[in-house]
Amino acid sequence: MNTIIEIRNLRKDYHVGEVTVHALRGVDLKITEGEFVAIMGASGSGKSTMLNIIGCLDKPTSGDYLLDGINVNTMGKDAIAKLRNNKLGFVFQAYNLLARTTALENVELPLFYNPIVKAKERKEAAITALETVGLADRMHHMSNQLSGGQQQRVAIARSLINNPVLILADEPTGNLDTRTSFEIMELFQDLNEKGRTIVYVTHEPDIAKFASRNIVFRDGKITRESMVTDRQNAREILKTLPVESVEEFDK
């Protein structure tokens, strides 16, 4: 298996006024292709900083970070933007869809920044991605006409469109109710089974159990790293939950 992420002795310091905050104090991490990793930890443990650095949105103070064999630390701003465009997919807690824009165009967005992709290919790719997340019938809906779960699916479709080596999700179920959360995890598990490497941050142990590996952060260090033995299958759990029709209000 290819190594997607290799992190060696990574440190990140923030300067808040006169005080220096050590957000990460020497992290070593390796994630291989096809893994499904949940990063856990209390707030302030450094897990979000870790995810931002993995997502090339932030730069470490010291240490090495190799993404898909490329050393990110030595790259310039534009090259990093290109890297995000080609290799990464982001899913956010607050979905971050463009307001008053159709689902289809929201999904197309990353490819707008890829000059090689033509308009027709872009549209086709967006339709395929929306089909993957089960929203083909909603593609012409405006983002604000969709429910929370649907919006997060659009966001996932957006993260898939550039066929990334890694999907990063920051508390993807944080704004969703239990059932919808499980539906999102079901989607992630499906994607993982098809070979996608996924890393997500959560503080809910329930949600972490859907991953194949758990990493726990505390005070800027990895305190526990374990393979999930009692891994949950979201589809199975959903069958046991009583069926609610809360999500279909917009029909």
Binding site: K77, L109, Y113, N162
Partner: protein
């Protein structure tokens, strides 16, 4: 991101805030419209003035006595005795670029017919004067050689004088009037010329042989001025130099001495008046330009608000691969579209405003292509200039901070 996408996205962002975009554009619209209208009105009045002055004859050359200075006291040129009829003869004989020459002797006086009277200026001239000044005889005839030589008491009336003495529509040819107590026979009337560019009535005059005016009316031996015609408009500059040279020689002036006369051409007067009206036009344009500047600042203000409002969107665009320059281009595109669209509407609005002002001022407002092109370029520059700073602010955002922005 290619340009058609950039354009589409920018348009969509503006459409999302239609009212705000429109109000922002309003500054530019008013600015451009007022610049266009001011320049059009200025150009219109300038052209009108040009036309009027040209109608007086573009190849006209005038010689007037220079101001007299005696012992450091500068007197006017009205009573200067510097010009004599012999100068007219000299010019006619020696200046090759001059075709027609006429002396001018002016007298002001009371004119009486029956129980009507009026005050006017009597111009003592030769028969060539009419063609030099582009005056035309409406009824009757002009003077002939014999009448000039014989100091005949004949005259030609301007239409205002006709109206004042005889009432409108009367043909007074053949009747007799008294000018300063001397009886004159009316041999002709002039066609109406109307007011000139400075509001003077060009029909309030009487023409008479210069000999008659000079000797019989005011008893002087000098003349007040010389009117001549250059052989063409292009040659008028050469003609001026020639007349100047000839007169200096015959007046026996030394190299160092100042001329006691001044030679001017109609085109020179035209230039002077044009430059005055140009200054007025630019002044008005500049004042209007200030409102355009204010409009530009309005754009900058709104772009700042827009950047702040869409911080999260900027963060998202960066996280999916938008480079700083992509973000910058997007905001620049918005401000350029705002200003150019405002410019186009401003040009249309300015056109209507010019038409309206033109009809109110009874002088046609003329919109020159240059001012439209200039307005367009200025709008583009405003869009870039005032959009640049907010766009740069947007592009310099840190993606994480932008994503977290509440």
């Amino acid at each position: 991101m290619n340009y058609s996408n950039l354009f589409r996205i920018a348009i969509r962002a503006l459409v999302r805030n239609k009212l705000r975009a429109f109000l922002t554009m309003l500054g530019i619209i008013i600015g451009v419209a007022s610049v266009i209208a001011m320049l059009a009105i200025g150009e219109g009045s300038k052209q009108r003035m040009r036309k009027e002055i040209s109608s007086m004859g573009t190849n006209m050359v005038m010689v007037v006595p220079n101001m007299v200075r005696i012992d450091g006291v500068t007197l006017g040129n009205q009573n200067s005795m510097a010009l004599k009829y012999s100068d007219v003869v000299t010019i006619r004989n020696e200046a090759a670029n001059i075709t027609m020459v006429s002396p001018e002797v002016r007298a002001n006086g009371q004119v009486i017919y029956g129980n009507q009277n009026t005050q006017t200026t009597i111009y003592g001239v030769s028969d060539e004067y009419l063609s030099i000044r582009k005056l035309e005889v409406q009824s009757g005839r002009s003077f002939n050689e014999n009448e000039i030589k014989g100091m005949s008491k004949v005259c030609i009336l301007g239409q205002t004088v006709v109206e004042n003495l005889f009432g409108a529509g009367v043909d007074p040819v053949g009747l007799s009037i008294r000018i300063k107590k001397l009886p004159f026979v009316i041999i002709g009337t002039l066609k109406t010329k109307g007011e000139n560019g400075m509001g003077q009535d060009q029909d309030d005059l009487i023409l008479a042989p210069y000999t008659t005016v000079q000797r019989r009316l005011i008893a002087i031996d000098y003349i007040n001025g010389i009117y001549a015609s250059a052989i063409s408009e292009e040659k008028s500059a050469v003609a001026i130099a020639e007349v100047d040279e000839v007169l200096r020689r015959t007046h026996k002036l030394k190299e160092t001495q100042e001329s006691d006369f001044r030679v001017m051409s109609q085109s020179e007067i035209l230039e002077t008046l044009s430059s005055i009206s140009d200054i007025m036009t630019y002044l008005l344009g500049a004042i209007a330009g200030i409102s355009l500047l204010v409009g530009g600042i309005g754009i900058m203000n709104i772009m700042f608000v827009s950047v702040t409002e869409r911080t999260r969107e900027i963060g998202l665009r960066m996280s999916v691969g938008g480079r700083s320059r992509d973000i910058m281009k997007q905001f620049l595109a918005e401000s350029i579209i705002l200003s150019i669209l405002g410019g186009i509407l401003g040009i249309i609005f300015g056109y209507l405003l010019s038409k309206l002002a033109g009809s109110l001022m009874s002088s046609e407002a003329i919109i020159k292509t240059q001012s439209v092109v200039l307005a367009f370029i200025v709008c583009f520059v405003i869009g870039v200039f005032f959009g640049w700073y907010p766009a740069r602010k947007a592009s310099n955002l840190n993606p994480i901070d932008a994503l977290r922005y509440e």
